[in-house]
Symmetry: C2
Subunit: 425 residues, 2 copies
């Protein structure tokens, strides 16, 4: 396979369908494949990712773009005219200068990248938007996924907006609120009598059997995963085109963490930010911490676990990017560690109390791990730190149900209020 061949759009696709992306490359053996609906290397069955041949790209070009991930279109496997297509236009979420939380933790400078501001209130809108573009350019007609929540919301909403069919597979015992928040978009929501692992397996089977389906996290996964790079791009741009010293990232499959590293690396290579060392830290819940276990054992291979944690959006027992997460945290001088569910809940409250940000359980995991890393002197308190809040507390209300509530209940009379207030002061 030659590079010349790979720079062309795949058969049947229009020229420029994937922007500056030129090929797929195996993350295990490095073999190149042409762009297409492929996710496994033909040589070694390793996972494929998107490769590029970038022209010169300037900050000004990016800054002139829309206030969404599409300002980074030239750094994604999407066409240059992507913003003219109907999508949920995610991204460009707030980077919050978290001064209260920094004081609480004893950090000099802390930022919270708050992805609860995305259209369906999680970072999944980013990856789904890129997968949707790939599906459209490849002529696939159904956008699909196995999911337990955030991804289902994002796929159903994006497909509705784009006017294409979607199919979402969920475990039949999923909480009704998560079913409603996807089904409202009129997606074909199929409840599967089984665990999430059963759902996942069935999804792979369907992806193999059915023509024209884009399972966002299966057969178009190489494109999908690139969407997470936009978190790195936005952090750098919002800091004034520079990289932070330390980043703490929630880890499920591990894709978000490895792609934030890829994003930073690309910005340096393109001269969009000054080269500097940065450390990447991973955060897992103790009840699903297979990568932490491998890290602590000094291993390169991640042994699957059976998840048991309230942090359902991170509960992937067999993380696809496990070895790559280990590589990134070791290479950058970071670490991956975990906190238990009680600590997760405390840290949901801590984020809300300090910054007015109600994160989902994954946010509690990330902040809890951040505090632990500070205590263990793994994070430098004087170095500039960014943490990711990847989703919204409204989707995981149960986590705090026993912990917060009214301070009192009184009759509607001023004297009753006065008695309470005097005692409270």
């Amino acid at each position: 396979m030659t590079t010349a061949l790979q720079t062309e759009a795949p058969a049947g696709c229009r020229p420029g369908a994937f922007g500056n992306a030129t090929h797929l490359v195996c993350r295990a053996c490095g073999a190149k494949s042409p762009l297409g609906p492929f996710y496994a290397c033909l040589e070694c069955f390793g996972p494929l990712e998107v490769g590029y041949e970038y022209p010169e790209i300037t900050r000004e070009q990016i800054e002139r773009g829309p206030k969404s991930i599409w300002r980074y279109a030239s750094l994604l496997p999407v066409p240059a005219d992507i913003a003219t297509f109907r999508s949920t236009d995610p991204g460009f979420t707030r980077l919050v200068d978290a001064r209260n939380l920094a004081d609480d933790l004893g950090l000099k400078q802390l930022w919270v990248k708050d992805d609860s501001g995305n259209p369906t209130h999680s970072f999944k809108d980013r990856v789904v938007a890129v997968a949707l573009s790939a599906a459209r350019e490849l002529g696939l007609q159904v956008l699909a996924c196995p999911s337990t929540g955030n991804l289902a919301n994002a796929v159903a909403a994006a497909a509705a907006r784009a006017g294409i069919k979607s199919v979402v597979l969920v475990p039949s015992n999923l909480e009704q609120q998560k079913i409603l928040a996807s089904a409202v978009y009129d997606t074909t929501l199929i409840a599967i009598e089984g665990s999430y692992d059963d759902v996942n397996k069935l999804a792979s089977e369907i992806a193999g059997e059915e023509e024209g389906w884009a399972f966002v996290n299966v057969n178009v996964r190489p494109y999908y995963a690139e969407g997470s790079k936009t978190l790195a791009f936005e952090i750098a741009e919002q800091l004034g085109w520079r990289l932070p010293d330390q980043v703490v990232i929630p880890v499920a499959s591990g894709s978000q963490l490895t792609k934030i590293d890829k994003g930073f690396t690309e910005l340096i290579k393109l001269g969009l930010v000054e080269e500097k060392p940065y450390k990447i830290f991973g955060a897992q819940a103790t009840g699903c911490s297979p990568i932490v276990q491998a890290y602590q054992a000094g291993q390169d291979v991640v042994a699957p676990v059976k998840p048991d944690t309230i942090a359902k959006s991170l509960a992937i027992g067999n993380p696809a990017d496990g070895p790559y997460v280990l590589d990134v945290v070791r290479r950058t001088g970071g670490k991956i560690t975990d906190v238990d569910d009680a600590t997760v809940v405390e840290n949901i409250q801590r984020l809300a109390r300090n910054e007015g940000i109600f994160g989902e359980t994954a946010g509690g995991v990330t902040l809890g791990v951040t505090a632990k890393l500070i205590n263990d002197r793994d994070l430098d308190p004087s170095a500039e730190t960014v943490i990711i809040n990847s989703g919204d507390g409204l989707k995981t209300l149960d986590a705090v149900a026993d912990k917060v509530g009214p301070k009192t209940t009184i009759p509607p009379r001023y004297d009753a209020f006065e008695d309470f207030w005097k005692a409270a002061k």
Copy 2:
């Protein structure tokens, strides 16, 4: 009272504490009062609003500002350095080019201003941010409100971020999910054994008795209400600095509708947009439609009703801005009308299905009314239309609970899927 006196900051406030605002003015009798924690006219007890003496303000000045409501600081009663204070930095939410929905409704051009993208996912973040600034500048130490949901979320989050005390009063029979989504910010949430009207009455009593309290929608209401002008400013700027032909706005107290009109008027006066006629339409739920009833009866006075609708965020039976809403819709050639709860639910689904936007019940009211106005030929289908989605469907999941769900439930086997899929096609 002279104008000279009113241009100064109130006693004890720093110069420029309220930006270009110079006085309060009675909306009933026109009498002027100095800036301060006042909300009722001393002459006639009419409601006060903020008056300004604007310098020249340019589009370029605004466009250089932050990507939040603070880009319009010069048009709000806030200091020029407002963006340096800790707030939730709301606003600059998406204006969605709703082409699917436009086709569905038979409209030529429709935009959805999607305020579910705000920090606590409703437009209340806008008004609370301005009220918080007024409270701080006036030296008030407690941010408070009576509320049944969105406002409580916004007050609790904003106070947490600003690092000041907050007190939120809610009816004790409020849904637990709404209590959790406020209490998580560690606000002093007080449950009141009574109806929302009882809660509201108690809040006014506390505002009168306690020193140093800022009840956002009571004693700092003139400042609070100005926050809704930012919806008008953003719509105009996002359209490329021009006004739409028609706007459909949900109506509870009516403040949002009257302030959007005020915002458009100010933009014209300042030469920031070209002068042109626009029509403003109001949307209520039939179960709480006191202003619609007054409109249809040709009256100027609004008789209170007892609310009975699923659109709880619009369920104000005695709307403070009722007469002013009637004035705006009549003066601009618009109208105010209502839809029943079944139509509200259908239109929550219609918005989600077409545009991937999951609005709360108020969004269903607004879209339902829009469709009704088109059917009744009150809205011109060839004129450019904007509708407001003021909140998030995740907060009113119960509304769709009986309407949406899985299309099927199957065992985790490909043949089971295949049977379903063949039949579905």
